[in-house]
Symmetry: C2
Subunit: 202 residues, 2 copies
């Protein structure tokens, strides 16, 4: 029964458009009685395959992004500033998320949201493990337990598996949605996702 399938939401913690989508996708899914599986991954692995560079490193496209990103944020009613440094490594953020996911899916989602806000609203460098631990600590997650967990081989393997599987399935961007088997790439496709859920596709 396709109606009951959750929406898969792939994103990179260093992706500003992923952040904008994270502020909107649950509301859209709720309207259609769907769950959303949040799936942070290491988009850099996919970018080695596609050959793409980060938006801010591409001539002309960087200038456009500096106009489009704040405009897209205003449209979504969200604060979002390109942080410095940008992008950053997100391996610790991802591992923390997946470790928590096995214990408490809602809390894991709260951590993902808090990490995104720390980076794109507060400008804190979530590439640093200390910052990830601090953000998690503010949510009541034990800092020492988490610090140990993100070094566990099983947690590391989980992230690698998630990322490798995503790339094997053709997922390469952030945000990237799978809706009833249908791939949608980009924050600017959220309305299409909404319409697809509403109508069953076209």
């Amino acid at each position: 029964m396709p109606e009951s399938q959750p929406i898969e939401f792939y994103f990179d913690f260093s992706s500003p458009y992923g952040y904008l989508a994270s502020c909107q996708i649950d509301r859209i899914a709720d309207r259609h009685g769907r769950r959303v599986l949040w799936r942070p991954y290491l988009m850099g692995v996919a970018m080695k395959v596609t050959g793409r560079q980060p938006l801010v490193e591409q001539p002309m496209i960087a200038d456009y992004t500096r106009i489009d990103l704040p405009r897209s944020a205003r449209r979504a009613g969200v604060k979002c500033t390109l942080p410095d440094p940008f992008p950053v490594a997100t391996v610790t953020a991802c591992r923390a998320y997946y470790w928590l996911l096995d214990q408490d899916e809602e809390k894991a989602k709260s951590l993902a949201q808090a990490l995104y806000v720390a980076y794109f609203v507060e400008g804190r460098n979530i590439g640093k493990p200390d910052v990830v631990l601090h953000v998690a600590g503010a949510l009541g997650i034990d800092r020492d337990t988490l610090a140990a967990a993100i070094q566990e081989p099983a947690v590391k393997a989980r992230l690698k598996e998630i990322t490798d599987n995503a790339v094997a399935r053709g997922i390469f961007g952030s945000p990237f949605f799978i809706v009833d088997g249908e791939p949608f790439w980009g924050n600017d496709r959220l309305r299409e996702v909404d319409e697809w859920l509403e109508t069953g596709g076209w």
Copy 2:
């Protein structure tokens, strides 16, 4: 008075998303009492600056495009097939357009539409001057006059100037719209363009 400014619609004749946008932008502009200036250009010149490759030459992104393009066409209610060869050189198509534009703007737009249909619906290779002349001939444009015109230095210079100016203004994609000074890139931004015209921006 921004209300009276026409919308600038930049596109490449070899761009399938440019074709999809060409089937929709005039209707959107009409709703808001705006004119559309159709501005074909040589996107390849911009791609040398951005470093981008055609979508179908990018691993993973090519596969996504083969899903997204027909889906976007169905959403727009338009037929569109990736032709072979793809992409093709569009210098003759562009020159024919600009030569005609100085005489009859509506007829030039009809030629642009006919060239797009020839390529993305009928699969004819509009990279070949003979095909461009044939498509123009079917619109009642004298073939010999056009064949001579596209060799004129002034016509060649016109296209070079249009393309160089576009790149200098930060235009790099297809479709690419300028609405009251605001740049919008991509067929998937047409609804944003519509809302921007409706609301005056955000």
